[in-house]
Symmetry: C2
Subunit: 150 residues, 2 copies
Amino acid sequence: MKKVVVESFTMDHTKVKAPFVRKCGLIKTPKGDVITKFDLRFTQPNKEAMPTSAVHAIEHLLAGFMREEIEDVIDISPMGCRTGFYLIIIGEKEEKDIAKALIKSLEKVTEAKEIPAVNEIQCGNYRDMSLFGAKEYAKSVLNSLKGKYI
Amino acid sequence: MKKVVVESFTMDHTKVKAPFVRKCGLIKTPKGDVITKFDLRFTQPNKEAMPTSAVHAIEHLLAGFMREEIEDVIDISPMGCRTGFYLIIIGEKEEKDIAKALIKSLEKVTEAKEIPAVNEIQCGNYRDMSLFGAKEYAKSVLNSLKGKYI
Ligand SMILES: [Zn+2]
Ligand SMILES: [Zn+2]
């Protein structure tokens, strides 16, 4: 396989104001498709990290909700720092389109009655899960994102 | 863009024996490239989850080490359940090739003198970071993976 071009945009974590959506990487596949990576930042770096139960619940919820809003989602995964998530898609999209999809998805989180796949067969740690925490973070992120992107 | 075919292989988390490497997803891009997703499972689902400081340190370390072993890495991210990581690559590879790359990378973790990018400019939560924890998990995962794949 031909060597892949990876373009990563470094970010100074002290200069950003969370929450935000940021295009943070671009990868070209050998046959000419483009893969784009987005930083979906929920909390302010090095000021507030989400508890694991909220991160985990949001991971389960956004896995379905973001795919309802955006075609060609490859992955959405938590950051090790617990301040947000990385979204990887096939194709190129603008930050504001991803932000709008995230807003719609987070609105669904605030209305969710349950978290999908919370059982020991489908999940690796089904006890560490907070729908309450997910909703509280969704609400505060939503408020700020709406101010920025709508 | 043409609709992407996503093939996800569901796994019964009560039936597996960690650690292991498992091909868990296949995505075809519009122009015909293949993207493969691997489950790099470190701890036994619903029995042991890694602390966030170890997960975060392993995330930073594997980001570089796995790219030294495998071309065409798109992403390697922690699971919300904290029992392992997802690796996403361009192309198709066998589980045993990924396992060998992971073994070499984890050997580098056990020998690491420092964790890259641990500062408030490059990281979102630079205080939640344990090189000690990363090494202890690397050692125990290494032992079992070598028995399975080498
Ligand atoms: Zn889970
Ligand atoms: Zn970090």
